[in-house]
Amino acid sequence: MKQSLKSSSSLIWPLAGLGLLLLFNAVFNPSFFSISIVDGNLYGNLIDIFRNGSITMILALGMCLVIATGGVDLSVGTIMAITGAVVAIIYQSDPDTSLFVALLVALGVAGVAGALNGALVAYARIQPIIATLILMVTGRGIASFITGEKQIAVENDAFGYLGTGHLIALPFSMVLVFLLYGLMVLGVRKTPVALFIEATGDNEDAAHFSGVNSKMIKLLVYLVCGLFAGLAGLVETSNIANSDPSQLGIYRELDAIFAVVVGGTALSGGRFSLIGAIIGALLLQTLTTTLYSYGVDSALSPIPKAVLIVTVCLLRSDRFRKQFTSLYARKNVA
């Protein structure tokens, strides 16, 4: 009970940011909320936010676990590029490959990449930022090598469903996020695994002496993060029906880290919030869509982004809030 109260209070700030953005749209851009039905599917800005934001949400779910162990995975963007390249090559060599085989191979590669990161961090004891940097800088080269330094069109109906299909009038990628979130809640949050992860992030030595196999936990979270990154890469490739190793997933790791941190999981590790990561990703995508739809000059659009990020981070900081309120209190006294 106490736990859930605590975690919900840390969600207030990203939710406030999201509310503020929606309020802005309600006042200045009311058509933002209109939803219509096109070809039997829901169609509108809000749907786009979920669909385009699904990639960051998937990444954030994986990244959340890694950050909870006190690590970070910089390679998710390049894992996206590698899986995109793998799936493109599979469909290029045989356009009739079954979706199951294509997903299995592509996610297998992503899993290997994730496990490699995990092994470097857990068993070789390399700093996570360095261990994952290795794949971050080499991965894009690997992806380019796989596709022969070319963009490859991926036009397969079954595969296209991942990024552009609809299930019960909702974008499939949105449904996928709900499924993954449910899976994570049941498989991690509601089991002792969550406790093991938090213990590892809080104090690895203490966790180790309490009998937590923190090395295995670390390996697993990087593996999951890699798998989720692979899935995100597949959704993006499917969405644009094209695999471009030099562009796919570029700077995505930063979006994912931002979503997780804004969502209430500290970079120092420990307590984590899966729903917070989702809300963080939602906040980021809502901002992007708002900027497009309100018509902010492209050259200026990084500014509102930066302002929002700084505001949410400051509001999240206890110290800043205390200083701010004490400043206000002093003024009132005077």
């Binding site: 390399i126 360095i130 069109a153 644009i240 094209n242 030099s246 562009q247 497009y292």
Partner: protein, 326 residues
């Protein structure tokens, strides 16, 4: 003994990482050269598109054909990599540098160093923004300003001077984005019936082009958008998908024109989904080396040299695609 080995592993990995990083930073091929062949340093932006690859190949092939020793440095999309490679070429005292800058600004200091060392610099493709023109020997590029004019002229002809236009810009601050924006607007502004109702950046990327177009369709309503002008093909291809997913026919319900003319754009034209492309010619190697030879021989050359760009329309795309080299 076993723990000792384990302890050494992190160090080994750090060294390996260091090697990777330094490899990426400098990124120049080292091939031994005879003393009499001239060495040219070529700094490319990256391998971000098929266009860029054709551009790289054009320079590399021309260098080989004329018997130069070409040192190739890949900026991998990061201006700081390019500046590092540039400095290292100056230190190596290459005979000339061909620079295809990622961004226009920030080259002043680097170019001054090259000038002081007496190394002529040929700027290729995108321009540089410097206070003193004498800092580089000459410029060779596709005329990104002219391309915007060619695109606008097609729009005037195609729409009869009456249309609401949505523009998908390239990366803000890059010279093709600036030129294609300004030149297009300069022609459109002369026709009161033509209006650019919105202009947003899709960063030259397909996914972003799609996302921006989705937002535009919702903001203005598809019935109020007659034409999309995209600063490159990839963004137009993304916009085509957004239009299709809104249940509309691209190139029919909303017309599209883009710049670059890569193969995928030709394929879209053959499929009847894209109306027109303006070429941005990547085969700049031959002209660049013609000029470079003159410069190295001490002749003076014009400061601004352009390769020729053509306009391709949907109607002839099926024949044109057969003649394309990239």
């Amino acid at each position: 003994m076993f723990p000792d080995v384990l302890k050494k592993i992190p160090l080994t990995f750090l060294i390996i990482t260091g090697l990777f990083l330094s490899g990426c930073g400098g990124g120049s091929d080292d091939s031994s050269a005879d003393s009499d062949t001239l060495t040219i340093g070529f700094i490319q932006t990256g391998a971000e598109s098929d266009w860029r690859k054709a551009h790289t190949v054009s320079v590399k092939e021309e260098a080989e054909k004329r018997g130069y020793n070409l040192k190739f440095a890949d900026g991998q999309g990061k201006p700081e990599n390019q500046i590092k490679a540039f400095s290292s070429f100056v230190v190596q005292r290459v005979d000339a540098i061909i620079l295809a800058p990622i961004v226009e600004t920030g080259w002043e200091t680097a170019l001054r160093k090259a000038k002081a060392a007496g190394i002529p610099v040929l700027i290729l493709d995108r321009t540089v923004d410097v206070s003193d023109d004498s800092l580089f020997a000459t410029y060779v590029g596709a005329d990104t300003y002219q391309e915007g004019i060619q695109a606008a002229e097609w729009v005037v002809k195609e729409t009869g001077g009456k249309a609401n236009i949505v523009e998908l810009q390239g990366t803000p601050g890059s010279s093709p984005a600036i030129n294609r924006l300004k030149s297009f607007k300069s022609v459109i502004d002369q026709h009161p019936g033509l209006k650019i109702i919105d202009s947003q950046s899709g960063d030259f990327r397909r996914a972003n082009g799609k996302q921006v177009m989705e937002a535009m369709l919702k903001k203005h309503g598809p019935e109020n958008i007659d034409l999309v002008y995209a600063h490159n093909d990839d963004m137009a291809l993304g916009a085509i998908q957004a239009i299709e997913e809104a249940g509309l026919k691209p190139a029919v319900y909303i017309k599209l024109i883009s710049i670059d003319a890569v193969r995928a754009a030709f394929e879209a034209m053959v499929d009847g989904k894209l109306n027109c492309v303006v070429e941005c010619n990547p085969l700049q190697g031959p002209l660049a080396f013609d000029l470079l030879e003159k410069i190295l021989a001490g002749e003076t050359v014009a400061k601004d040299n352009r390769v020729k760009d053509e306009v391709f329309e949907m109607a002839h795309a099926a024949e044109d695609i057969k003649t394309r080299a990239y």
